[in-house]
Amino acid sequence: MNLIIPAILAPFSMMMLILLLRRFPAALALMGAAISLLAGIGLLSNAFNGMAGELILPGLPDMPLRLIATPLTALLATLVAAIGGLVLVYAAGYMKQDSEKVRFFATMLLFLSAMQTLVLAGDWILLLAAWELIGLSSYLLIGFWYRRPGVRSAASRAFLTTRSADLGLYIAAFILISHAGTNDIATTLDSTGNAAITAGLLLLVAAMGKSAQTPLHDWLQRAMAGPTPVSALLHSATLVAAGAILLIRTAPMLPPQTLLVVGIVGGITTVVTGLIALGERDLKRLLAASTSSQYGLMLVAVGAGVPLAALLHLIAHAAIKSSLFLGAGVFQHARESTAFADLKGAGRDRPRIFVAFALAALALAGIPPLSGFFSKDAIIAASLSSPNAWVLASFALAGTLLTGAYMARALRILWRGNRQHRHIPGLGWMTLGLTGLVTLAVILGATFPSIEVLLDQSLSGNPLAQLLGLSAALIGLALGRFIPGWRLLGPLLPWARQGFAIAGSFDTWVVQPAYAIARACEQLERGLYNGVLAVGRAGLAMSRAARWGDERGIDGLIFSLVRGVHELGNRARTLQSGLIHREMAIMVAGTALIFVALLIGLSVY
């Protein structure tokens, strides 16, 4: 049986089951994720053996829907399922006391199946559909606690931002399909010339939206209003990865100019969001800015022409960032808040969790032998080897430095402070999930060589890159450990606190106009509704007028006729005087008239 089917359908069918049964949501969710993981591993082993799986579904005429399991896609499918499963284990504990578990796990499963479809998609149309679905599930999950203030607007903002960037994906897909004549992704990657340049830039726009690159990074900060498992799964490892995945898959097609733009965008993002992270006063928002920064690094790698480095970093980052978020979730439950002001010393309450958190943080900074070191190293090496080495390498190194700085800052704040002890329900499950992910974060570096073999590519080792990367990381860690964030940022602090908003940022340029258009549409609709009502009222008025006309006019006419006849009768009555001589006079006159008439008649005849 084609393993693609359970990979996608397992989470989906479990979601239906949860919605139908409304019981055992966590258990069913875990089962769905587990089956999907098994299927993914099966696909991966098939890929190792050189077998590529494929599933063709009937779609539009001449454009069937394709699901393919190449080494790349199988790898990504396994990754998604693994991270998803571990996060769901964690979520079983995190959501233990929440009243709406059914909705939560059902939506998480919806997301899982949509994400699996996305990574396994072989044609543009299916990819577009899955892209939309993950956007939808992101909206539903960010706004999960919709009754809390600010949550709904955060979800709408995130949705609107990514949605408007998705326009780029649509146009790029249409350009590629019409250029190549088929919707098969692999075939369209052979496009060259203007189509490739334009499509590449548009794909970059879509990736910027989904992966929260500057200037579209704001929505990710706001998305932290959702539950922590959501942040861990969607907004660190999988959904935001979709943008990077898109660029990694279409990298063969992108011409050098586009690649340069990709690299620059990624580089700017790395630096800007790194600075934001330095100034953040909320742990989850710091992690969100960090996510944007890391994806910026991945885009730098793609821009350098080595998508493999980006892929490796994606895999490593998935495990690292999700474990960071899971740890943050434990602290959140411990202190009922994610603001740094409340979290001071939270690490000291739960040392084991803190150790896990610290391991993941160091991995992110790029300390060997943790996985982050290998992937960062690959990126820096790639940037050094690219034609635009100066620009890209400086961005990459700056990003590495900043990573170390803000991670150290976070660790410092978490460790130093007062201790509070509070019982956290579901800690067991949460620890389990967290442990799994941290383990992955630590050991994934060892799997990289086999991935290289799988994908039939290799990375060039560069000792200079290793040296530069390591020193940048260490300097960053030291800076963050000893110097407070606000002093590091200096004059940039207020700007950083604002999220480096430029001219009112995306908010004023896109969101407010969108809201304004929505309000205008509502006004229009109300106007039309009133118009229809007015037409109805006009009809009623007409009918009233008709009735009035009938009553006054026609009836009036008839009654006046009646009155006229009455009057006439009254007048004529006076002729009847009862006096015989009068009547005789009338008789004579009448006879004379008859006589005359006869005469005329006879003479005429």
Binding site: H581, A585, V588, A592
Partner: protein
Amino acid sequence: MTAQLFFIGFFGLAAVWFGVVVFRTFSMVRSALALLFSQTALGALFLSLQAEFLGILQIMMMATEMSILAIFMVMFMMDPGGLGEMEMTHQKRLSLGAGIIAFVAAVAVALFVDWGPVAGVAPAAAQQTVDLSRELLGRSMLIFETAGVTILTAMIAATAVAIQPLQQGGRHEH
């Protein structure tokens, strides 16, 4: 035919003159008598027109009728003798105008219509009577039978109308 013409003219004039007298006198009896003479003159006119049976009939009938009329006059008039000289007419101008118009119209018809060839000779009186009686009992039998029934009805009606309405107890109101 001058004699006939003279007699026609004379009796016609008499009839008209007496007719005028009927309405000009104040005395009721005199107007009844004037009417009597007018009708008698008409009868004589018929005689002069060689309609002897009709003439005699006219004189006899009218004499009787007018006398009865005179009696009714005396019964019902306020002032049968006409001694009060009261004006007893109304809408005088209207009726005068109507009368004159009627006269003019009739004369116009008489003058302007072509009556066709005029017959000169009338049959003898005996012959007229025989023809008339034959006509009466022959062709016009139905008419006179009807007329007879009508007269009977009229007599009964007149009597019924003229009878006193019966009061309670069968007494006759006086």
